[in-house]
Amino acid sequence: MKIVVTVKVVPEKIKFNKETKRIDRSGVKMILNPVDLVAAEEANKLRNSNDELIAISMGPPSAAETLNSLYKYGFDKVYLLSDPAFAGSDTLATAYILSMGIKKLVPDFDIIFQGDYSIDGATGQIPGELAAFLGIPFLTHVNSVNRKEIVRKTETHLERFQFITPILLSVSDDANYGISPNLFYLKVSIGKNTEIINNDTLKANTELCGLNGSRTLVSSVVQNEVKTSTEVIKENGAEQAAKLLKEVGII
C-alpha cells in the first residue's frame, strides 16, 4: 500500500506583514505543522512493513531543510513542490498544486492523510478541495483508522465508515500524540534529503497556481477593535470576584 501524508512547514510564531497581506516567514523559526505529525502517526499505525510512506509538501525551497527531519520519523520519501509560480496560492490553488504533485509522484496512492488544519491558516478547506481535484472520497475529523473501518467525530456523533481506497482522510488533532522518531530511522535517515520538484517537472497549469490561480484575495488586514483604556482593578480584585460569585449563587 502507498500512503501519502501532506505536510506543511509553518512559522513557529506567526507574524503578519501588513503591507503584503501575507504571513511573514522571514527570520522566523520554521517547524512542521503539529497536526500533520498527528496525521503522520495515524499513517504510521496503519502501515505494514511492505507499505510505502511518502510525504508531500508545498512551499519555498527553504522548507526542504525542515522537511528533512521527516526521514527520522520513518518516511521513505519526502517531496517538496516548490516554484515561484506557486507563491501566493489560496486554498483552491494549493489543493490544485498538491493534486498535480500526487498524480505525478504517487499516481498509485491508496490513502492520503492530512492534518485537519494548519496552525498558521486553520481554514480546514484543503481536504475537501483536494479530494475534489482528485475525484476521490474524503472524511475530516478522523479519529482512528484500521484496514476495515474509519471512526470520525462530528460535533455530536462518533461515526463509523467502511471504505475502499483510494481515499483522503483528514485527521483530528486529538487522534493521537503525534509521530515520534525511532532509533532505526534516526540511523538510516542520515544523508537523506527532501527532493524538490519544480514546475518544469510538475507541469501544472500556471493559470491555476499561485496568485493567478487564487479565487479568493485578501483585500486588507485590519486590527481587531480593542479597547485599551479599560480601567483595571489593582487592589482587592479577589474580594470583588468572590463577592460576585456569591451574588450569582455559585458559592
Binding site: L139, T154, E159, R215, T216, V226, K243, I250
Partner: protein
C-alpha cells in the same frame, strides 16, 4: 442580492446574511419540517449527498452568494463543491460586509488581526463561524439514505457531551499560568464546582487535555461566570466564550480580555489565586 444559506444547527449564517440582504433562501442539512422559511431539509450524512443537495438547490435558486454554516458535514460539502466547481471559498468568517458591491468576509487571524477576504468568482462562497444554536424540530427525523459506492456509512452514536459546554462556571487557563499553579487551580475549581478549560497553546504543550480547549478549534462554552487566569483574550479563544460575567486575571494591563471583562483584575495568577481562595473561604 440573493443569498442562499446552508445551515445545520446554527443560526449565525442566517443572521449574517440578513444583515446584508433581504433576499434570502435558507436550506437545512438537518431535518427542519416546521421551519417555514427553509427549503425542505434533508438529513445529510456524507459529503456526496451534501454536494448534490447544494447543487440542486443552487440550480433552482441561482444565488449571488452561498453562505455555509461552519459545521463538519457542511464544511466538507462546501469545500468539495468549491474544488469541483473551481470556486473561491472564503473561510471561517465571523463578520460580513459589502464594499464596492463586493461581499467581504472578515476572517479572524493572528495577533489580534483580521483578514478581509473577497472572492473573484460567482457565486461567492463563504463559511461562517457557528456559535448560536437554532432549535430544530426533531419530531420526525426523515433520514435520507444515500447510497454511496465509495464510503459506506455504518452507523453513529451520540457521544457524551463535553461537560464544559453546559458548565455553570468555567475556569480558563492561559499561557500566563505557570505549570505548578495548575493543580491549585484545579482544587479551586473543585471547590466552587467549576469545569477547567484552557487556550489552545496550553493544551498543545500537553499540560491540559486537548478536549478542554475553548474557542474556534475547541468547545463553545456558555457559563454564568467565566474566570480566566493568564488569558490574554485572543479572538480564537474568546469566540468560544459566551458568558454572563467574565472575571479575568492578567498581569498585562493592555490584555484584550480586560475590555470584555466584568472584573478585569490586574495581577499575576500566582499572586491573585491565594487571595481568591482566602476570600472564597471567608464568604462561603
Amino acid at each position: 442580492m440573493r443569498i442562499l444559506v446552508f445551515t445545520g444547527e446554527h443560526n449565525d449564517a442566517i443572521r449574517t446574511a440578513k444583515e446584508i440582504s433581504d433576499d434570502i433562501i435558507t436550506a437545512s442539512f438537518k431535518q427542519c419540517a416546521d421551519c417555514a422559511e427553509f427549503v425542505p431539509g434533508k438529513k445529510i450524512t456524507s459529503f456526496e449527498s451534501g454536494v448534490s443537495f447544494i447543487e440542486s438547490v443552487e440550480e433552482k435558486t441561482s444565488p449571488d452568494a452561498i453562505f455555509f454554516s461552519d459545521e463538519t458535514i457542511i464544511r466538507e460539502s462546501a469545500s468539495f463543491f468549491a474544488g469541483k466547481r473551481r470556486l473561491g471559498l472564503i473561510s471561517h468568517s465571523n463578520k460580513v460586509f459589502i464594499k464596492d458591491g463586493k461581499i467581504i468576509g472578515v476572517v479572524p487571524g493572528w495577533e489580534n488581526l483580521s483578514a478581509e477576504v473577497f472572492s473573484l468568482t460567482k457565486p461567492v462562497l463563504l463559511l461562517l463561524n457557528a456559535k448560536e444554536k437554532i432549535t430544530l424540530n426533531k419530531k420526525s427525523p426523515e433520514i435520507i439514505k444515500v447510497d454511496s459506492s465509495l464510503l459506506k456509512f455504518e452507523g453513529s452514536a451520540e457521544f457524551k457531551k463535553n461537560p464544559l459546554e453546559n458548565a455553570n462556571v468555567v475556569i480558563g487557563i492561559g499561557r500566563g499560568v505557570r505549570k505548578n499553579l495548575i493543580p491549585k487551580i484545579e482544587k479551586l475549581a473543585e471547590k466552587i464546582g467549576a469545569e477547567i478549560g484552557c487556550t489552545r497553546p496550553v493544551a498543545d504543550s500537553g499540560l491540559i487535555p486537548l478536549n478542554k480547549v475553548i474557542g474556534d478549534s475547541g468547545v463553545q462554552i456558555n457559563p454564568k461566570v467565566y474566570i480566566a487566569f493568564g488569558i490574554s483574550g485572543a479572538i480564537q479563544h474568546m469566540s468560544g466564550v459566551n458568558a454572563n460575567y467574565i472575571i479575568s486575571i492578567n498581569s498585562d494591563a493592555n490584555a484584550p480580555i480586560f475590555s470584555v471583562s466584568t472584573l478585569p483584575i490586574l495581577g499575576k495568577a500566582e499572586e491573585v489565586l491565594p487571595q481568591f481562595e482566602e476570600w472564597i473561604k471567608n464568604i462561603s
